[in-house]
């Protein structure tokens, strides 16, 4: 039985267990890497971005008329002899299926893989009623024998080793088996399950598609078990979520281009099957299959009408959001979902399995956007996860003290900045002579000690601005610097590096004093109202100067300003009129230098020093900037040295690293290991948050690589 932690304390204990599972760690880490490395080959010749937009639009159109599509499907399916049922919730679906079994005098049931049946805990229900249920998908059969839930939506037994499967199958066959021979283990399933198909009275399947225009179900499979399940027994029941309804075959073909590629890296699965109506069946007294289709609502019809969450119903269950997730790859699916696994699981759990099962897991997202970048139906998963957490809090009628304080402080810039200045004094006793805190005060738990922490600057950037600013009489461009809290209050030197680089380029730089935190931390804490208030303050501040660009040195601020501001005010009648003009002006440091200023190598002293690069999540995925920083390193006369997984998260994620230090530190460790495998002595990145995390980790392990903001190394070699 699935037991998901219902509070953060027991969740943390479970996470600890998972982090100690060596096999799981290795298996999932390898999977994560291999999956990402193979992806470009798998998608060769296919315009992924284009097709995903098309599919998303098609899904949205279908979701807006589900009941209509259902009626069309039902008419066509029934005309071919199928019986179509509707279940308003999981219990009703299970009852309908049990009743069909009873009416048809069924004793033995075989099943092919269905996440929807997992959702309703169908097997438990049928077994309680006395039916014998056998799963036939290899992975599902394994976890059924182990009385577990799936740990991945496509590969349900990915958490198990060949030795565990070998032991299990030895128990089933009462024979000695060689666990190294996986082919042989697979054949055990073939042999043992063959008679089960032939003896079964009823087969249960799911479906990937319910095609309205024809009344046919579409199923996408590899093992061949689903074909047997739907052919041999005299009764077939398909359990289908309403979200599987699509208008036509063309829509299915489109999805078929991405589903197998995203799920298993195949151009197409071994079998794609269309089933419609009561087909010929020799074991039925009527010579026709007793064919039933049960449509499951379980909240889907309401969800489809939700302006924000309907997006989640686009999901085609490819499982890719788990495959690329740095957290999933550390803790596995049993700790990263309830029934539905991965990023989409953190969202759907609230709607299908209630707030109790979601309240702990939903907090475990670092917002690195790896999932949304591979999602074939363009679901903004990290954003919806934060929205889901908000919905959990609202349902529980609770505001955590942390959220209350954060909102209160953040809405008031003066108070917020006052606290940051005070922090400089508070930290003094813990710092040594170095600008780092290496030993945390005692009120921190030891899990937090994986990185040294920077000191709050003695004089924030904003207080130095008067001295720093220079007059430019005939500027080529005017830029407004959006500094972000980290540079303003921790790393003013990164801001100063920028000013130094711009000297001689006829750029006027403005620093609007009323700018405040970008608001991302508020959004990450699911305090969207606060984030919106802060956004309006920033819009006003930036509007006070007439600028061509708004430049950020922080990738997280940049992508939040550019994308989330629009998102938060979408459909809001009070959205500021100048919002679009504001977001259009946002530019990151590297893009500004390479694309706007078009800096040349003559401006820099060539050193040829080897420099590694960390690509911040919010730069490469958030802002879609990948080439510019690497080019800039070379233009400035350094040698860019590639390292493994440059675009994988460093584990920072703002408050995530404080909330989940045990996971943050593991993600960081891998980042540091990869960088240390190169012969670079410097690592640069475009985000002060990543600098904080990576520099802190490097310092703690007494590593030799210097970690800097890219602006710093550019200014160092400026002639």
């Amino acid at each position: 039985m699935i037991k998901t932690a219902q509070d953060i304390k027991s969740y943390k204990e479970k996470l600890k267990e998972a982090l100690e599972d060596k096999f799981l760690r290795k298996a999932l880490d390898t999977f994560n890497t291999v999956y990402r490395e193979n992806r470009p080959t798998v998608y060769q010749g296919i315009d992924f971005e284009g097709i995903k937009e098309e599919i998303a639009a098609g899904k949205d159109a279908a979701l807006s008329r589900l009941t209509e599509l259902f009626e069309e499907f039902k008419t066509k399916a029934e005309a071919a002899g199928a019986k179509v049922h509707v279940a308003k919730d999981a219990h009703e679906a299970n009852e309908i299926i049990a009743a069909i079994a009873k009416e048809n005098n069924v004793k033995k049931i075989i099943k092919s893989k269905s996440m929807t049946a997992e959702e309703t805990f169908l097997n438990n229900h049928l077994e309680k009623k006395g039916f014998i249920v056998t799963e036939t998908d290899l992975g599902e059969w394994i976890i059924q024998l182990r009385h577990e839930g799936p740990s991945h939506m496509v590969m349900p037994a990915i958490h198990l080793s060949r030795y565990q499967v070998g032991d299990l199958f030895e128990g089933v066959t009462q024979q000695k088996l060689d666990p190294e021979n996986i082919d042989k283990l697979v054949k055990v399933a073939r042999q043992v399950l063959r008679p089960a198909y032939l003896e079964a009275d009823m087969g249960i399947s799911g479906a990937n598609f319910a095609i309205a225009e024809s009344g046919a179900l579409g199923l996408v499979t590899n093992e061949g078990n689903m074909r047997l399940v739907t052919t041999l027994p005299r009764v077939h029941v398909a359990l289908v979520g309403y979200d599987k309804l699509i208008p036509d075959l063309k829509s299915m073909f489109k999805i078929l281009k991405v589903l197998p590629r995203n799920a298993t890296g195949q151009a197409i699965t071994s079998y794609v099957t269309w089933i419609k109506g009561a087909t010929e069946c020799g074991s039925s007294p009527t010579d026709r299959k007793e064919m039933h289709i049960v449509f499951l609502d379980n909240g889907r019809l309401d969800l489809a009408k939700d302006p924000v969450f309907s997006e989640a119903l686009r999901c085609i269950r490819c499982g890719a959001c788990a495959n690329v997730c740095p957290i999933y790859s550390k803790v596995g699916g049993h700790k990263y979902g309830h029934v539905y696994i991965g990023a989409i699981g953190l969202i759907l759990t609230l709607f299908y399995h209630g707030k109790e099962n979601d309240r702990a897991i939903v907090r475990n997202c670092i917002n690195c956007q790896a999932c949304s970048s591979v999602c074939p139906v363009d679901i903004d998963l990290p954003y919806l996860i934060k929205k889901t957490y908000r919905a959990v809090l609202d349902q529980e009628g609770k505001t955590p003290a942390k959220n209350f304080l954060l909102s209160k402080v953040m809405k008031n810039r003066r108070l917020f900045h006052f606290i940051l200045r005070r922090a400089y004094l508070a930290q003094k006793p813990f710092a040594g002579k170095e600008p780092m805190i290496r030993h945390l005060p005692l009120f921190f738990e030891k899990e937090h000690g994986y990185r040294s922490l920077p000191l709050i600057a003695k004089i924030p950037f904003r207080d130095q601005w008067r001295q720093l600013r220079t007059e430019v009489v005939h500027p080529k461009y005017t830029i407004a610097l959006f500094c972000g809290c980290a540079i303003d209050f921790i790393y003013p030197e990164q801001g100063k590096a920028l000013l130094d680089i711009l000297k001689g380029h006829d750029i006027r730089v403005e620093f609007p004093m009323d700018q405040t935190c970008c608001g991302l931390p508020a959004l990450m804490a699911s305090e969207e109202e606060t984030a919106k208030e802060v956004a309006i303050q920033n819009l006003k501040a930036m509007d006070s100067v007439n600028c061509d660009y708004i430049l950020t040195l922080c990738a997280s601020c940049g992508s939040h300003l550019k994308h989330n501001y629009l998102k938060m005010f979408k459909d809001d009648p009070d959205a500021p009129a100048n919002l679009k003009a504001f977001t259009d002006k946002i530019v990151d440091f590297s893009s500004f230098l390479t694309n706007v200023l078009r800096v040349s190598s003559e401006e820099y002293e060539k050193t040829g020093e080897k420099v590694a690069y960390h690509s911040p999540c919010h730069l490469c995925r958030g802002l879609g900037v990948t080439d510019e920083p690497r080019k800039l390193i070379e233009i400035a006369g350094y040698e860019y040295v590639p390292s493994k997984d440059e675009d994988v998260c460093c584990g920072f994620g703002g408050s995530y690293s404080v909330d989940f230090p045990e996971i943050s530190s593991e993600i960081l460790k891998k980042k540091l290991d990869n960088v240390e495998k190169t012969d670079a002595r410097i690592l640069v990145t475009d985000c002060p948050g990543c600098v904080l995390q990576i520099r802190g980790g490097m310092d703690k392990r007494c590593g030799k690589i210097q970690v800097k903001h890219i602006a710093e190394i550019i200014s160092e070699v400026k002639k």
Binding site: G81, N222, A267, I268
Partner: protein, 186 residues
């Protein structure tokens, strides 16, 4: 029409998913092939679904000569005895090396799902570039107010459920042989 590029692509893509592809000239070549493959694998039975009566009789004779049994219809009572299944298929899709087979007949389903080895005969003229180019044909079949069971088959059955290691031949056929029949152009 036979397009050599399509045939080549079909073959490459099918082989990429472990199908065994050969070329034949006449349907009769497929009979000998089926007999040989069955003998080689130590099988004793053959089924053929979707053949004309006279071809069925010819195959039966060839099986008998080779000491193999060609199972009669209906196949259900002998479902656990099938070694090799020989079937013509309706279409091929070059883009993915896929076979398209209307499997509405229960005998075709039992043959192609339960056999250890599936030998499929694909006329070269029936190879289409991609699935979209079959949309009209498939749609016409699906939209009729009649039951239907339609299949795309690409390679043998497979799984990676244990440690993500690819294993071919799980619940469906362990081997898929495709015989591309290039009609005589002369």
């Amino acid at each position: 029409m036979q397009n050599p590029d399509l045939i080549k692509r079909m073959q490459e893509k099918a082989e990429a998913v472990q199908a065994i592809v050969s070329k034949i000239i006449r349907l009769k070549d497929a009979f000998q092939y089926t007999v040989d493959v069955t003998k080689k694998q130590g099988g004793q039975t053959v089924v053929a679904a979707g053949l004309e009566a006279e071809d069925q009789a010819l195959l039966k004779k060839q099986c008998e000569t080779a000491n193999l049994t060609l199972l009669d219809f209906p196949l259900r009572p002998q479902a656990d005895k099938i070694h090799t299944a020989l079937t013509p298929v309706d279409w091929g899709i070059a883009e993915t090396g896929t076979l398209v087979l209307d499997s509405t007949s229960e005998d075709i389903r039992i043959a192609t799902m339960l056999a250890e080895t599936h030998v499929a005969v694909l006329p070269a003229s029936k190879i289409k570039p991609d699935s979209m180019s079959l949309e009209n044909e498939l749609n016409a079949a699906l939209k009729r107010d009649a039951p239907i069971y339609y299949a795309f088959i690409t390679g043998a059955s497979r799984t990676a459920d244990i440690e993500r290691v690819l294993a071919v031949g799980v619940h469906g056929p362990k081997e898929l042989h495709i015989l591309i029949m290039e009609e005589n152009n002369a």
